[in-house]
């Protein structure tokens, strides 16, 4: 319980919101917008699963300042991210990069769909009438088809 309280306190002790109105925002609105976008991509080091936009922590505030500095200095988005990755590793990116060590993660949905789809299709194809049920001959099958197609 205390752990919960401490964790919650870490998140919400400081003033109301994360990107504080008392931070110096970039004078150029487009640049500030870019900076905010980048902040959403970077993980707060001392919080649980939050970006530095949504965090009240001091360190998050410092990182926001650095993001703004680098954007104002002319770095591209990729360069700002690389700056952070150089210091903290891929872990600081909220979105896992696509590389050989994360390929399995990103490809999982597709691979699972294909595997599952194949399994389902095999099941549907493999169906056999229950033993004891006589098979239909062609004319019966045609009649059955006609009857079933009448259903609303």
């Amino acid at each position: 319980m205390r752990v919960l309280a401490i964790l919650l306190a870490l998140l919400w002790t400081a003033p109301a919101f994360a990107v504080g109105a008392d931070e110096t925002m970039l004078p150029d609105a487009a640049q500030e917008q870019r900076a905010r976008g980048l902040m959403h991509d970077l993980r707060c080091l001392v919080c649980q699963n939050q970006s530095i936009t949504d965090s009240n922590a001091d360190l998050a505030r410092d990182l926001r300042g650095i993001v703004r500095e680098r954007v104002a200095a002319g770095d591209s988005d990729a360069q700002v991210r690389q700056y952070m990755v150089d210091r903290y590793g891929d872990w600081i990116l909220m979105k896992p990069p696509f590389n050989p060590r994360t390929a399995l993660l990103w490809l999982a949905p597709l691979l699972l769909l294909v595997a599952g789809g194949f399994g389902a299709w095999a099941f549907v194809r493999r169906q056999r009438p229950a033993p004891g049920t006589p098979a239909l001959d062609e004319s019966e099958k045609a009649r059955l088809r006609a009857l079933l197609d009448e259903e609303p």
């Binding site: 080091l45 360190l59 410092d62 990182l63 650095i66 150089d86 210091r87 903290y88 590793g89 891929d90």
Partner: protein, 176 residues
């Protein structure tokens, strides 16, 4: 038993094993990556953190093995590890340098006046940027730099006897 029916069990056992390994490895979910491992010390040049002391720069970490400790007077675990730090240089024979992170000179001077200064050189990182360049996420964090000026070890948290005896000292012996 058909193979596909055993698949869910196999997958589950794999996941359970992964959790078991996590407990065994005593993984700390709060630990941040040691991204600077094996890389050269980042460039920095800081003024001293204590009145009348010597500053610290990247050049001071070339050509010898050194211990670098990031600390702050407002940090409770730093106070806890202070006695250990006081004996560290003598114990290991390796110079121990300190970088004051986001601190105030007056507070540091007051603390060291009362409890002693464990560092032969200090750096004052007022805005915390040097700490970020080293990839710290708070204080205290302790690093070891080898002769080639590469960062080879890091510990997050206050240094205790177990860490020093089982982790730090064996490493320093291999570096000498």
């Amino acid at each position: 038993m058909k193979p596909q029916h055993a698949l869910p069990l196999a997958v589950f056992l794999l996941i359970a094993a992964a959790f078991g390994v996590a407990f065994y490895m005593e993984l700390d979910p709060q630990a941040t990556p040691f991204a600077i491992e094996g890389k050269p010390v980042p460039a920095f040049d800081l003024p001293p953190a204590v009145e009348g002391g010597e500053g610290l720069s990247a050049a001071d970490l070339q050509g010898k093995v050194a211990i670098v400790n990031f600390f702050a007077s407002w940090c409770a675990p730093c106070r806890v590890e202070h006695p250990m730090l006081m004996t560290l240089e003598k114990r290991t024979g390796v110079p121990v340098y300190g970088i004051a992170w986001k601190d105030r000179k007056a507070a540091i001077d007051g603390w060291f006046a009362a409890d002693g200064n464990p560092f032969s050189r200090t750096g004052f990182d007022g805005d915390g940027r040097v700490g970020i360049d080293w990839g710290i996420s708070g204080v205290p964090e302790t690093f070891v730099v080898d002769r080639a000026g590469k960062v080879v070890w890091r510990y997050q948290g206050d240094l205790n006897e177990a860490v020093v005896a089982k982790g730090l000292e064996p490493l320093l012996r291999t570096l000498k």
